[in-house]
Protein backbone atom coordinates (compact mmCIF):
# COMPACT_ATOMS: atom_id res chain seq x y z
CA UNK A 1 0.00 0.00 0.00
CA UNK A 2 1.10 3.55 -0.65
CA UNK A 3 2.00 5.50 2.47
CA UNK A 4 3.35 8.91 3.37
CA UNK A 5 7.10 8.80 4.04
CA UNK A 6 9.24 11.59 5.39
CA UNK A 7 12.93 12.29 4.83
CA UNK A 8 14.23 14.89 7.25
CA UNK A 9 17.29 15.57 5.09
CA UNK A 10 15.06 17.40 2.62
CA UNK A 11 12.70 19.13 5.05
CA UNK A 12 13.00 22.92 5.02
CA UNK A 13 10.78 23.39 8.07
CA UNK A 14 8.45 25.59 6.01
CA UNK A 15 5.27 24.11 7.57
CA UNK A 16 3.49 24.15 4.19
CA UNK A 17 2.44 20.53 4.75
CA UNK A 18 0.54 21.64 7.83
CA UNK A 19 -1.28 24.33 5.88
CA UNK A 20 -2.12 22.02 2.99
CA UNK A 21 -3.41 19.44 5.46
CA UNK A 22 -5.58 21.94 7.29
CA UNK A 23 -6.98 23.25 4.02
CA UNK A 24 -7.61 19.82 2.52
CA UNK A 25 -9.64 18.77 5.55
CA UNK A 26 -11.46 22.08 6.06
CA UNK A 27 -14.18 21.54 3.48
CA UNK A 28 -13.62 25.14 2.38
CA UNK A 29 -13.34 26.11 -1.28
CA UNK A 30 -10.18 28.18 -1.03
CA UNK A 31 -7.06 28.19 1.04
CA UNK A 32 -7.67 31.80 2.06
CA UNK A 33 -11.13 30.99 3.45
CA UNK A 34 -9.79 27.93 5.23
CA UNK A 35 -6.67 29.37 6.79
CA UNK A 36 -6.61 33.17 6.92
CA UNK A 37 -6.48 34.49 10.49
CA UNK A 38 -7.22 31.04 11.85
CA UNK A 39 -5.35 28.88 14.31
CA UNK A 40 -4.88 25.72 12.29
CA UNK A 41 -5.07 22.22 13.77
CA UNK A 42 -3.47 20.02 11.11
CA UNK A 43 -3.16 16.25 11.17
CA UNK A 44 0.49 16.40 10.18
CA UNK A 45 2.84 18.30 12.44
CA UNK A 46 6.40 19.54 12.10
CA UNK A 47 8.95 18.86 14.77
CA UNK A 48 11.92 21.21 14.64
CA UNK A 49 15.02 21.88 16.69
CA UNK A 50 18.34 23.44 15.82
CA UNK A 51 18.75 22.74 12.10
CA UNK A 52 16.63 19.61 11.99
CA UNK A 53 12.96 19.45 11.06
CA UNK A 54 10.56 16.78 9.88
CA UNK A 55 6.85 16.15 9.54
CA UNK A 56 5.00 13.53 11.56
CA UNK A 57 1.65 12.03 10.62
CA UNK A 58 -0.05 8.65 10.90
CA UNK A 59 2.18 5.80 9.71
CA UNK A 60 -0.84 3.62 8.89
CA UNK A 61 0.77 0.76 10.78
CA UNK A 62 0.15 -2.78 9.63
CA UNK A 63 -0.34 -3.61 13.32
CA UNK A 64 -2.08 -0.44 14.56
CA UNK A 65 -2.07 -0.16 18.34
CA UNK A 66 -4.60 2.70 18.16
CA UNK A 67 -7.21 0.46 16.55
CA UNK A 68 -6.61 -2.26 19.12
CA UNK A 69 -7.04 0.23 21.96
CA UNK A 70 -10.12 2.05 20.68
CA UNK A 71 -13.07 1.58 23.04
CA UNK A 72 -15.73 2.92 20.69
CA UNK A 73 -14.95 1.15 17.43
CA UNK A 74 -14.27 4.54 15.81
CA UNK A 75 -10.88 3.46 14.47
CA UNK A 76 -10.69 0.81 11.80
CA UNK A 77 -8.46 -0.42 9.01
CA UNK A 78 -9.82 -0.17 5.49
CA UNK A 79 -7.65 -1.46 2.67
CA UNK A 80 -4.59 -0.84 4.80
CA UNK A 81 -5.45 2.72 5.80
CA UNK A 82 -6.31 3.53 9.41
CA UNK A 83 -9.50 5.58 9.35
CA UNK A 84 -11.54 7.26 12.07
CA UNK A 85 -15.30 7.59 12.31
CA UNK A 86 -15.48 10.80 14.35
CA UNK A 87 -19.20 10.26 14.88
CA UNK A 88 -18.45 7.16 16.96
CA UNK A 89 -15.47 8.67 18.80
CA UNK A 90 -16.20 9.63 22.42
CA UNK A 91 -12.83 11.35 22.92
CA UNK A 92 -11.47 8.89 25.51
CA UNK A 93 -7.94 9.32 24.11
CA UNK A 94 -6.97 5.64 24.31
CA UNK A 95 -5.51 6.06 20.82
CA UNK A 96 -3.34 8.96 21.99
CA UNK A 97 -2.15 6.68 24.79
CA UNK A 98 -1.29 3.92 22.32
CA UNK A 99 0.26 5.62 19.27
CA UNK A 100 4.08 5.46 19.41
CA UNK A 101 4.36 8.32 16.90
CA UNK A 102 2.08 10.78 18.63
CA UNK A 103 0.11 10.98 15.40
CA UNK A 104 -3.43 11.39 16.74
CA UNK A 105 -4.63 14.62 18.25
CA UNK A 106 -7.71 16.52 19.31
CA UNK A 107 -9.54 18.32 16.55
CA UNK A 108 -11.10 21.73 17.05
CA UNK A 109 -14.38 20.04 17.98
CA UNK A 110 -12.77 17.92 20.70
CA UNK A 111 -12.98 14.51 19.04
CA UNK A 112 -9.87 12.80 17.76
CA UNK A 113 -8.44 13.46 14.31
CA UNK A 114 -5.72 11.74 12.33
CA UNK A 115 -4.29 11.55 8.85
CA UNK A 116 -6.57 9.53 6.59
CA UNK A 117 -4.34 9.98 3.53
CA UNK A 118 -6.92 12.47 2.20
CA UNK A 119 -9.05 9.45 1.28
CA UNK A 120 -12.19 11.00 2.72
CA UNK A 121 -11.86 14.54 1.41
CA UNK A 122 -12.31 15.79 -2.14
CA UNK A 123 -8.62 15.49 -3.00
CA UNK A 124 -8.19 11.74 -2.64
CA UNK A 125 -4.40 11.86 -2.39
CA UNK A 126 -2.32 13.31 0.48
CA UNK A 127 -2.17 17.08 0.09
CA UNK A 128 0.79 17.43 2.46
CA UNK A 129 2.78 15.63 -0.22
CA UNK A 130 1.43 17.90 -2.94
CA UNK A 131 2.31 20.96 -0.89
CA UNK A 132 5.86 19.99 0.04
CA UNK A 133 8.19 22.13 -2.10
CA UNK A 134 11.26 19.98 -1.56
CA UNK A 135 9.94 16.39 -1.82
CA UNK A 136 10.69 15.76 1.85
CA UNK A 137 7.28 14.09 2.04
CA UNK A 138 6.43 11.43 -0.53
CA UNK A 139 3.50 9.09 -1.13
CA UNK A 140 4.66 5.72 -2.39
CA UNK A 141 4.99 1.98 -1.78
CA UNK A 142 7.98 0.83 0.24
Amino acid sequence: MKRVYVDERWCLGCHLCEYYCAFANSGKSSMIKALKDRHIVPRIRIEERNNISFAVSCRHCTDPLCVKSCISGALSVENGAVLIDSDKCVGCCSCIMACPYGALSHSESGVIQKCELCKKNEFGVPQCVQGCPNKAIVYEER
Binding site: E8, G73, M97
Partner: protein
Protein backbone atom coordinates in the same frame (compact mmCIF):
# COMPACT_ATOMS: atom_id res chain seq x y z
CA UNK B 1 -9.52 -26.91 12.23
CA UNK B 2 -12.62 -26.09 14.31
CA UNK B 3 -12.34 -23.16 16.67
CA UNK B 4 -14.56 -22.32 19.62
CA UNK B 5 -14.36 -18.98 21.40
CA UNK B 6 -16.14 -18.62 24.72
CA UNK B 7 -16.92 -14.97 25.40
CA UNK B 8 -18.03 -12.00 23.34
CA UNK B 9 -15.85 -9.07 24.37
CA UNK B 10 -12.64 -7.44 23.16
CA UNK B 11 -10.54 -10.58 23.67
CA UNK B 12 -12.93 -12.52 21.43
CA UNK B 13 -12.58 -9.91 18.68
CA UNK B 14 -8.80 -10.13 18.96
CA UNK B 15 -9.03 -13.92 18.79
CA UNK B 16 -11.13 -13.85 15.61
CA UNK B 17 -8.65 -11.43 14.00
CA UNK B 18 -5.74 -13.63 15.05
CA UNK B 19 -7.27 -16.84 13.72
CA UNK B 20 -8.23 -15.25 10.42
CA UNK B 21 -4.76 -13.76 9.95
CA UNK B 22 -3.50 -17.32 9.69
CA UNK B 23 -6.46 -19.51 8.73
CA UNK B 24 -8.95 -18.02 6.29
CA UNK B 25 -11.62 -20.68 6.48
CA UNK B 26 -11.62 -22.93 9.57
CA UNK B 27 -15.07 -22.65 11.17
CA UNK B 28 -15.27 -20.43 14.26
CA UNK B 29 -18.08 -20.69 16.78
CA UNK B 30 -18.42 -17.91 19.33
CA UNK B 31 -20.49 -18.32 22.48
CA UNK B 32 -21.35 -15.04 24.21
CA UNK B 33 -23.31 -14.87 27.44
CA UNK B 34 -24.63 -11.39 26.70
CA UNK B 35 -27.52 -11.08 24.25
CA UNK B 36 -25.81 -8.24 22.35
CA UNK B 37 -23.43 -7.96 19.42
CA UNK B 38 -19.88 -6.77 20.13
CA UNK B 39 -19.90 -3.48 22.00
CA UNK B 40 -17.30 -1.35 23.71
CA UNK B 41 -17.79 -2.09 27.40
CA UNK B 42 -16.19 1.15 28.60
CA UNK B 43 -18.80 3.06 26.59
CA UNK B 44 -21.63 2.35 29.02
CA UNK B 45 -20.85 5.44 31.12
CA UNK B 46 -20.83 7.56 27.94
CA UNK B 47 -24.21 6.07 27.05
CA UNK B 48 -25.75 7.13 30.36
CA UNK B 49 -24.17 10.55 29.97
CA UNK B 50 -25.66 10.92 26.50
CA UNK B 51 -22.26 11.15 24.80
CA UNK B 52 -23.00 8.17 22.61
CA UNK B 53 -26.13 6.36 21.52
CA UNK B 54 -27.22 2.79 21.95
CA UNK B 55 -27.07 2.37 18.19
CA UNK B 56 -23.46 3.57 17.99
CA UNK B 57 -22.46 1.59 21.05
CA UNK B 58 -23.78 -1.62 19.50
CA UNK B 59 -21.97 -0.85 16.24
CA UNK B 60 -18.53 -1.45 17.80
CA UNK B 61 -17.93 -3.67 14.80
CA UNK B 62 -19.90 -3.54 11.52
CA UNK B 63 -23.13 -5.55 11.38
CA UNK B 64 -21.63 -8.02 8.89
CA UNK B 65 -18.41 -8.48 10.90
CA UNK B 66 -19.08 -12.09 11.88
CA UNK B 67 -20.59 -13.14 8.59
CA UNK B 68 -17.59 -11.78 6.67
CA UNK B 69 -15.22 -13.75 8.87
CA UNK B 70 -17.11 -17.03 8.87
CA UNK B 71 -18.05 -16.81 12.54
CA UNK B 72 -21.16 -18.53 13.86
CA UNK B 73 -22.12 -16.45 16.88
CA UNK B 74 -24.36 -17.79 19.62
CA UNK B 75 -25.40 -14.84 21.77
CA UNK B 76 -27.23 -14.92 25.06
CA UNK B 77 -25.94 -18.44 25.53
CA UNK B 78 -23.72 -19.65 28.37
CA UNK B 79 -21.22 -22.45 28.33
CA UNK B 80 -21.68 -24.87 31.23
CA UNK B 81 -18.43 -26.82 31.14
CA UNK B 82 -15.45 -27.86 29.05
CA UNK B 83 -14.40 -31.47 28.55
CA UNK B 84 -10.73 -31.14 27.62
CA UNK B 85 -10.23 -34.84 27.02
CA UNK B 86 -13.20 -35.17 24.70
CA UNK B 87 -12.52 -31.69 23.27
CA UNK B 88 -16.09 -30.52 23.65
CA UNK B 89 -17.91 -27.62 25.25
CA UNK B 90 -21.28 -28.26 26.86
CA UNK B 91 -23.64 -25.31 26.58
CA UNK B 92 -26.39 -24.57 29.09
CA UNK B 93 -28.84 -25.18 26.27
CA UNK B 94 -27.64 -28.78 26.17
CA UNK B 95 -25.86 -28.35 22.85
CA UNK B 96 -22.39 -29.89 22.66
CA UNK B 97 -19.75 -28.07 20.61
CA UNK B 98 -16.72 -30.04 19.48
CA UNK B 99 -13.48 -28.10 19.09
CA UNK B 100 -9.93 -28.56 17.93
CA UNK B 101 -8.78 -25.31 19.54
CA UNK B 102 -10.61 -23.48 22.29
CA UNK B 103 -10.14 -19.95 23.61
CA UNK B 104 -11.53 -18.75 26.93
CA UNK B 105 -12.37 -15.04 26.65
CA UNK B 106 -14.86 -15.09 29.49
CA UNK B 107 -13.91 -11.90 31.29
CA UNK B 108 -14.51 -11.04 34.89
CA UNK B 109 -17.38 -10.62 37.32
CA UNK B 110 -17.92 -7.80 39.80
CA UNK B 111 -16.71 -8.69 43.24
CA UNK B 112 -19.12 -7.80 46.02
CA UNK B 113 -17.67 -7.94 49.53
CA UNK B 114 -20.01 -9.09 52.27
CA UNK B 115 -21.94 -6.13 53.65
CA UNK B 116 -24.63 -6.50 56.25
CA UNK B 117 -28.08 -5.74 54.97
CA UNK B 118 -27.07 -5.67 51.31
CA UNK B 119 -29.59 -8.33 50.35
CA UNK B 120 -32.41 -6.06 51.48
CA UNK B 121 -31.32 -3.24 49.15
CA UNK B 122 -33.63 -3.52 46.17
CA UNK B 123 -32.35 -0.76 43.87
CA UNK B 124 -28.79 -1.92 43.28
CA UNK B 125 -26.54 -2.91 40.40
CA UNK B 126 -22.96 -3.38 39.40
CA UNK B 127 -21.62 -1.40 36.41
CA UNK B 128 -19.89 -3.68 33.95
CA UNK B 129 -22.27 -4.46 31.13
CA UNK B 130 -24.86 -2.83 28.91
CA UNK B 131 -27.57 -4.61 30.89
CA UNK B 132 -26.15 -3.07 34.09
CA UNK B 133 -26.30 0.36 32.45
CA UNK B 134 -29.90 -0.22 31.36
CA UNK B 135 -30.82 -1.33 34.88
CA UNK B 136 -29.16 1.75 36.39
CA UNK B 137 -30.84 4.01 33.87
CA UNK B 138 -34.26 2.57 34.73
CA UNK B 139 -33.61 2.92 38.47
CA UNK B 140 -32.62 6.56 38.08
CA UNK B 141 -35.57 7.46 35.87
CA UNK B 142 -35.87 10.93 34.37
CA UNK B 143 -36.89 13.02 37.38
CA UNK B 144 -33.34 13.73 38.65
CA UNK B 145 -34.66 12.98 42.12
CA UNK B 146 -32.67 9.85 42.97
CA UNK B 147 -29.70 9.95 45.32
CA UNK B 148 -27.00 7.62 44.05
CA UNK B 149 -24.46 5.88 46.24
CA UNK B 150 -21.44 4.32 44.54
CA UNK B 151 -19.22 1.95 46.50
CA UNK B 152 -15.72 2.05 44.99
CA UNK B 153 -13.71 4.98 43.61
CA UNK B 154 -11.90 3.05 40.91
CA UNK B 155 -12.30 3.66 37.17
CA UNK B 156 -15.64 1.85 37.01
CA UNK B 157 -17.11 3.70 39.98
CA UNK B 158 -15.93 7.13 38.87
CA UNK B 159 -16.87 6.76 35.19
CA UNK B 160 -20.28 5.69 36.49
CA UNK B 161 -20.39 8.84 38.65
CA UNK B 162 -19.65 10.95 35.59
CA UNK B 163 -22.27 9.10 33.58
CA UNK B 164 -25.09 9.62 36.07
CA UNK B 165 -24.35 12.90 37.91
CA UNK B 166 -26.59 14.97 35.63
CA UNK B 167 -29.36 12.40 36.00
CA UNK B 168 -29.28 12.08 39.78
CA UNK B 169 -30.17 14.34 42.70
CA UNK B 170 -26.75 13.60 44.19
CA UNK B 171 -23.83 11.21 43.84
CA UNK B 172 -21.85 9.99 46.86
CA UNK B 173 -18.82 7.73 46.48
CA UNK B 174 -17.51 5.57 49.32
CA UNK B 175 -13.97 4.19 48.97
CA UNK B 176 -12.03 2.01 51.38
CA UNK B 177 -8.65 3.45 50.33
CA UNK B 178 -7.70 6.90 51.55
CA UNK B 179 -7.59 8.25 47.99
CA UNK B 180 -9.47 7.93 44.69
CA UNK B 181 -8.35 5.75 41.76
CA UNK B 182 -5.81 3.92 43.94
CA UNK B 183 -5.01 1.37 41.21
CA UNK B 184 -4.68 3.91 38.40
CA UNK B 185 -3.05 7.04 39.83
CA UNK B 186 0.10 7.57 41.87
CA UNK B 187 -0.70 8.84 45.40
CA UNK B 188 0.29 12.44 44.65
CA UNK B 189 -2.09 12.70 41.68
CA UNK B 190 -5.23 11.42 43.39
CA UNK B 191 -6.00 14.66 45.28
CA UNK B 192 -5.72 16.73 42.07
CA UNK B 193 -8.27 14.58 40.26
CA UNK B 194 -10.43 14.34 43.37
CA UNK B 195 -10.66 18.12 43.60
CA UNK B 196 -11.66 18.32 39.95
CA UNK B 197 -14.41 15.71 40.36
CA UNK B 198 -15.64 17.31 43.57
CA UNK B 199 -15.93 20.62 41.75
CA UNK B 200 -18.32 18.87 39.36
CA UNK B 201 -20.50 17.94 42.32
CA UNK B 202 -19.54 14.42 43.41
CA UNK B 203 -19.05 13.86 47.16
CA UNK B 204 -16.35 11.48 48.38
CA UNK B 205 -16.14 9.48 51.58
CA UNK B 206 -12.59 8.12 51.59
CA UNK B 207 -11.03 5.63 53.98
CA UNK B 208 -14.52 4.36 54.68
CA UNK B 209 -16.60 1.32 53.96
CA UNK B 210 -20.26 0.51 54.35
CA UNK B 211 -20.70 -1.29 57.65
CA UNK B 212 -24.41 -1.91 57.33
CA UNK B 213 -27.30 -1.14 55.01
CA UNK B 214 -30.76 -0.29 56.16
CA UNK B 215 -33.52 0.44 53.69
CA UNK B 216 -32.48 3.75 52.14
CA UNK B 217 -29.48 4.33 54.41
CA UNK B 218 -25.85 3.19 54.38
CA UNK B 219 -24.06 3.27 57.72
CA UNK B 220 -20.36 3.92 57.23
CA UNK B 221 -17.41 2.52 59.15
CA UNK B 222 -16.48 6.01 60.35
CA UNK B 223 -19.81 6.42 62.12
CA UNK B 224 -21.62 8.57 59.55
CA UNK B 225 -24.62 7.53 57.51
CA UNK B 226 -25.68 8.28 53.95
CA UNK B 227 -29.25 8.23 52.70
CA UNK B 228 -29.58 6.87 49.16
CA UNK B 229 -32.10 5.62 46.62
CA UNK B 230 -29.88 3.78 44.14
CA UNK B 231 -26.77 1.73 44.94
CA UNK B 232 -23.93 0.99 42.50
CA UNK B 233 -21.39 -1.64 43.54
CA UNK B 234 -18.01 -0.98 41.92
CA UNK B 235 -15.54 -2.43 44.39
CA UNK B 236 -13.62 -4.54 41.91
CA UNK B 237 -13.76 -7.52 39.62
CA UNK B 238 -12.64 -11.13 39.73
CA UNK B 239 -11.62 -13.24 36.72
CA UNK B 240 -14.18 -15.83 35.65
CA UNK B 241 -12.45 -19.15 36.14
CA UNK B 242 -15.21 -21.76 36.45
CA UNK B 243 -14.98 -22.95 32.83
CA UNK B 244 -11.19 -23.17 33.01
CA UNK B 245 -11.50 -25.14 36.23
CA UNK B 246 -13.95 -27.53 34.57
CA UNK B 247 -11.27 -28.16 31.93
CA UNK B 248 -8.65 -28.59 34.69
CA UNK B 249 -6.61 -25.62 33.50
CA UNK B 250 -4.25 -24.15 36.06
CA UNK B 251 -6.00 -21.30 37.85
CA UNK B 252 -4.34 -18.86 40.26
CA UNK B 253 -7.01 -16.21 40.88
CA UNK B 254 -7.24 -16.09 37.07
CA UNK B 255 -6.65 -18.54 34.25
CA UNK B 256 -2.87 -18.90 33.98
CA UNK B 257 -1.50 -18.31 30.47
CA UNK B 258 2.01 -18.00 29.06
CA UNK B 259 3.24 -15.43 26.55
CA UNK B 260 1.64 -17.50 23.76
CA UNK B 261 -1.68 -17.22 25.63
CA UNK B 262 -1.74 -20.98 26.15
CA UNK B 263 -3.31 -22.39 29.31
CA UNK B 264 -1.81 -25.41 31.05
CA UNK B 265 -4.13 -27.69 29.05
CA UNK B 266 -3.33 -28.64 25.48
CA UNK B 267 -5.33 -26.82 22.77
CA UNK B 268 -6.99 -24.50 25.27
CA UNK B 269 -6.01 -20.84 25.16
CA UNK B 270 -7.24 -17.87 27.14
CA UNK B 271 -7.18 -14.09 26.77
CA UNK B 272 -8.34 -10.91 28.43
CA UNK B 273 -9.73 -10.16 31.86
CA UNK B 274 -10.12 -13.82 32.84
CA UNK B 275 -6.38 -14.43 32.69
CA UNK B 276 -3.29 -13.95 34.80
CA UNK B 277 0.13 -14.13 33.17
CA UNK B 278 3.78 -13.66 34.16
CA UNK B 279 4.66 -10.00 34.46
CA UNK B 280 7.42 -9.27 31.92
CA UNK B 281 9.45 -7.51 34.63
CA UNK B 282 8.96 -9.57 37.75
CA UNK B 283 7.72 -12.93 36.48
CA UNK B 284 4.93 -12.85 39.07
CA UNK B 285 1.46 -13.83 37.86
CA UNK B 286 -0.83 -10.83 37.48
CA UNK B 287 -4.07 -9.83 35.82
CA UNK B 288 -4.24 -6.84 33.46
CA UNK B 289 -7.89 -6.00 32.97
CA UNK B 290 -7.68 -3.34 30.28
CA UNK B 291 -9.13 -3.37 26.79
CA UNK B 292 -5.89 -3.16 24.76
CA UNK B 293 -4.50 -6.12 26.68
CA UNK B 294 -7.62 -8.16 25.95
CA UNK B 295 -7.42 -7.39 22.23
CA UNK B 296 -3.73 -8.20 21.98
CA UNK B 297 -3.86 -11.35 24.08
CA UNK B 298 -6.84 -12.47 22.03
CA UNK B 299 -4.98 -11.91 18.80
CA UNK B 300 -1.93 -13.76 20.10
CA UNK B 301 -4.10 -16.69 21.15
CA UNK B 302 -5.90 -16.70 17.82
CA UNK B 303 -2.73 -16.77 15.75
CA UNK B 304 -1.26 -19.58 17.82
CA UNK B 305 -4.53 -21.55 17.74
CA UNK B 306 -4.40 -21.45 13.96
CA UNK B 307 -0.84 -22.72 13.84
CA UNK B 308 0.98 -19.40 13.67
CA UNK B 309 3.68 -18.29 16.05
CA UNK B 310 2.87 -15.20 18.05
CA UNK B 311 4.39 -14.01 21.30
CA UNK B 312 2.91 -11.32 23.50
CA UNK B 313 5.57 -10.17 25.90
CA UNK B 314 5.03 -6.43 26.00
CA UNK B 315 2.05 -6.22 28.30
CA UNK B 316 2.09 -3.05 30.36
CA UNK B 317 -0.59 -1.43 32.44
CA UNK B 318 -1.96 1.67 30.74
CA UNK B 319 -5.05 3.78 31.04
CA UNK B 320 -6.52 6.69 29.17
CA UNK B 321 -9.50 8.30 30.76
CA UNK B 322 -10.96 11.61 31.74
CA UNK B 323 -13.49 13.16 34.05
CA UNK B 324 -15.43 16.31 33.25
CA UNK B 325 -12.92 17.49 30.68
CA UNK B 326 -9.78 16.59 32.63
CA UNK B 327 -7.92 14.07 30.48
CA UNK B 328 -5.40 11.68 31.94
CA UNK B 329 -3.09 9.07 30.49
CA UNK B 330 -0.78 6.85 32.49
CA UNK B 331 1.24 3.71 31.87
CA UNK B 332 3.75 1.42 33.52
CA UNK B 333 4.71 1.53 37.17
CA UNK B 334 4.87 4.53 39.39
CA UNK B 335 8.22 3.66 40.94
CA UNK B 336 11.79 4.88 40.75
CA UNK B 337 13.02 8.43 40.51
CA UNK B 338 10.23 10.98 39.97
CA UNK B 339 10.37 13.93 37.64
CA UNK B 340 7.46 16.28 38.15
CA UNK B 341 6.47 19.31 36.16
CA UNK B 342 3.49 21.57 36.42
CA UNK B 343 2.34 23.95 33.75
CA UNK B 344 -0.94 25.71 34.39
CA UNK B 345 -3.48 22.95 35.06
CA UNK B 346 -1.29 20.30 33.46
CA UNK B 347 0.68 17.89 35.62
CA UNK B 348 3.37 15.51 34.41
CA UNK B 349 4.96 12.75 36.44
CA UNK B 350 7.74 10.62 34.94
CA UNK B 351 9.20 7.68 36.84
CA UNK B 352 12.65 6.45 35.80
CA UNK B 353 14.45 3.37 37.00
CA UNK B 354 17.44 1.39 35.71
CA UNK B 355 17.84 3.51 32.56
CA UNK B 356 14.20 3.06 31.64
CA UNK B 357 10.98 5.00 31.83
CA UNK B 358 9.22 2.77 34.35
CA UNK B 359 5.97 4.70 34.16
CA UNK B 360 4.34 8.07 33.64
CA UNK B 361 1.20 10.01 34.27
CA UNK B 362 -0.06 13.02 32.33
CA UNK B 363 -2.96 15.06 33.68
CA UNK B 364 -4.53 17.83 31.64
CA UNK B 365 -2.08 17.91 28.74
CA UNK B 366 -1.96 14.48 27.14
CA UNK B 367 -0.65 15.50 23.73
CA UNK B 368 1.41 12.71 22.09
CA UNK B 369 1.40 10.62 25.28
CA UNK B 370 1.86 7.46 23.23
CA UNK B 371 5.49 8.35 22.66
CA UNK B 372 5.99 7.92 26.42
CA UNK B 373 3.87 4.75 26.42
CA UNK B 374 6.15 3.31 23.74
CA UNK B 375 9.23 4.00 25.90
CA UNK B 376 7.57 2.04 28.71
CA UNK B 377 6.32 -0.79 26.50
CA UNK B 378 9.53 -1.17 24.46
CA UNK B 379 11.73 -0.76 27.55
CA UNK B 380 13.80 1.73 25.60
CA UNK B 381 17.16 2.45 27.29
CA UNK B 382 16.96 6.14 28.17
CA UNK B 383 20.69 6.46 27.46
CA UNK B 384 19.87 5.73 23.79
CA UNK B 385 17.68 8.83 23.44
CA UNK B 386 17.83 12.50 24.43
CA UNK B 387 15.91 12.07 27.64
CA UNK B 388 16.17 15.68 28.74
CA UNK B 389 14.43 16.69 25.53
CA UNK B 390 11.68 14.08 25.64
CA UNK B 391 11.14 14.82 29.33
CA UNK B 392 9.96 18.30 28.37
CA UNK B 393 7.64 17.19 25.55
CA UNK B 394 6.95 13.81 23.97
CA UNK B 395 8.69 14.02 20.59
CA UNK B 396 10.46 11.89 18.01
CA UNK B 397 13.30 14.43 17.86
CA UNK B 398 14.69 12.80 20.99
CA UNK B 399 15.55 9.64 19.05
CA UNK B 400 18.73 9.28 16.99
CA UNK B 401 18.68 10.33 13.32
CA UNK B 402 18.92 6.66 12.32
CA UNK B 403 16.00 5.72 14.52
CA UNK B 404 13.94 8.67 13.21
CA UNK B 405 14.65 7.66 9.61
CA UNK B 406 13.42 4.16 10.44
CA UNK B 407 10.28 5.42 12.17
CA UNK B 408 9.27 7.92 9.49
CA UNK B 409 10.75 6.47 6.35
CA UNK B 410 10.97 2.75 6.99
CA UNK B 411 8.45 0.05 6.22
CA UNK B 412 5.25 0.30 8.26
CA UNK B 413 5.29 -1.62 11.55
Amino acid sequence: MRYVILGGGAAAIGCIEGIRAVDASGPITLVGAEPHPFYGRPLISYLLEGKTTREKLLAYRPADYEEKRGVRALRGVRAASVDAEGRTVLLETGEVLPYDRLCLCVGSTPFVPPMEGLDAVREKTSFMTLDDADRLSAMLGDAKDKRALIVGAGLIGLKCAEGILARAASVDVVELADRILPAVLPPEASPIVQKHIEAAGVRFHLGESVKRFEPGVAHLSGGGSLPFDVLVLAVGVRPNTALAESARCRVERGVVVDDHCRTSVEDIYAAGDCTVFPDPDTGALRPLAILPNATMQGETAGRNMAGGRAVYDKAAPMNATGFWGLHMIGAGRYEGEVYRSQSGDATKLLYTKDDRLAGFLLLGDIDRAGIYTALVRERTPLSSIDFELIRETPQLMAFSATERAKKLGGAAQ
